[in-house]
Amino acid sequence: MNRAVRVPIFRPNEFKWTHDPEKCARCKRCVQQCGFGAISWEDGPVSDPAKCVGCQRCMVFCPQQAITIDVNHRRNVWHQAETGGVLLTGMGCDLDYPILWDHLVLDACQVTNPSIDPLREPMELKTHIGRRPDRVKPGGGEEDESDIPIAPCLELESPIVFSPMSYGSISLNAQKAIAMAAAECGVMWNTGEGGLHEDLKPYSHRAFVQCASGRFGVDADYLNAGAAVEIKIGQGAKPGIGGHLPGEKVSQEVSRTRMIPLGTDALSPAPQHDIYSIEDLRQLIYALKEATDYQKPVSVKIATVHNVAAIASGIVRAGADIVYLDGFRGGTGAAPTVIRDHLGIPIEIAVAVVDQQLRDEGIRNQASIIAAGGIRSSADMAKAIALGADAVAIGTAALLALGCTLCQRCYTGKCSWGITTQDPALTRRLDPYVGSQRLINLITAWSAELEEILGAMGVNAIESLRGSRERLRAVGLDQTTCDILGVKPAGVGA
């Protein structure tokens, strides 16, 4: 029963917004730029501290650098005492948990095992994602234990995919930027559970099309339009929690793409109420394979939780061709803060234990692993692959490339940067062509760095690095964590 009644409370402001009238050019650009309506003009800009979210749009766009914003007070308890509501947030967990990537270092070649010079030697970043046959018949042709047809693998030019972000959670311009970049770079993007907008069909050959509990925008055409189909079970930012696009974000276009009525809540409950077991999951996996005539690999996306290895094993045995692991630092358009910050386990651990479990069971060939939720750089990518991933997915990094400043207010739909909003006045701030080029730059840069890393390690193909935990060493990790990661402490030789 909801007993909550709003009781206003006097409290310090969350952000300290200051403005230097000496520098101010009185251009009013700050007033226009604020998506949250926090700045008004009273013979000079005045900020309403109750509305400011610290997104820094005004600060960045002030031609005179007259504005500064500082974090003043976190106000969660006050806010809850005032409203009686569940706190919402966006993006990924920002608490100070240890980041294991920063406790892992990569090996390099010296003297006895020569490195490879990526400036003149070909370095192969091409990665194949999907199921491999159990056996290869000598003399050509594939022979599998079962007669279940195997969908062709996805070919990635670089082992990076964009993580699922639906049209609805992000603007069409943002999704278009991502889709165009994926097509240009020969990687993959993911529709999220928001359907496939007409404008993005030219890029659908590089898309995972997602099918989740709400079945938004899912029909036979949609399933066959993508290069692969993904069943979303969970999300790293909100394990065990479903999606909920508030009615006011369900615009005409969003309604058309999701094929739902205008203005109603788009609810994707956490349990898919037709999936209560691995057997039920198998039923949906094969419903999708039948609907696509076994031509599309099927991915299953889960949040990494305590029992992730056994769950992933079940997913592979249920017929999935790809297991997408989303670590607890993964982002979201909207989640309860308490869930985002406290549930799930780190992706570093999850990749290691899932890879090991699948190897131990002799089924590692049956599915590829995509690691997501906290991949911040090409180094994280290399380490994830050395721990056992086939490829990584980036969401937060992609949004940063589009201009995101991590104010974590995606759920309000007022994003001043035009990314997580459907307000036409705001979405037009993001030019999909410019955004796409930034994403292409990011992937180009990370790919070049990955080549440098591979060269230094003396490996000339990324698929040769996969699961090479011998090329990782731990710094400052306890023995138990080292054992779980399957990584020796630094100082232990080969």
Partner: protein, 245 residues
Amino acid sequence: MRIDAADLHYRDLNRQVRQAVAEGEMELEIVNVNGQRYIADGVQGSVGMELHGVPGNDLGAFMDGPTVVVRGNAQDAVANTMNAGEIVVHGHAGDVLGYGMRGGRLLVRGNVGYRVGIHMKAYQDRFPVVVAGGVAGDFLGEYMAGGALIVLGLERRPGQELVGDWCGTGMHGGVIYVRGDVDPARVAGRFVAVRPVDDADRKVLTPHVEAFAFAFGLDVAEILEHDFLRIAPISHRPFGAKYAA
């Protein structure tokens, strides 16, 4: 065209079905159906299929246009995410029917199981409808967002309930019609309201009951003369107040 499904794995059966449809076959008769899953899964166009036996789970999943008549019972997840077309079951059907269904119609002569019509949704001119001749299990219309569920309760035993517990939990669109009484305490009062049908409801209801009666050779007037109740959501935004704005 006639296909004998005896001893056929679902993959082989469905491959034959897809091939026949691709070759422009308009009438398929499949005999000796015995639990094969995914029949008519993702099939588009206006082919008609008549199945003799009991098809397995996910009959007509993602289906987009065909008409399927089942001469027997059906199992779980019939019409999963179905887009258009019609499925007629001359018997009982299992759990999770019409999950995420967006259009078309499912007519079941007998009883239906648990979790029927979860997440059904209407969109523009598409309006999914499930008619159950018998009674329905728990969680009928959970998270329902559009379309209509109609429970007729024909040949009900004395004391047998029309719907199970938790009817309409999280429902935020669409409508459930039941022929007869439900105990308001047994439907989720937090989400839905119950009242007798009015003329507008009758207009929605009648053509589907007519189609049901026609499909199974029953007397429409006799079914329709009974009182119906309407179970519909209180709000399109049932969880709006839960979060700190």
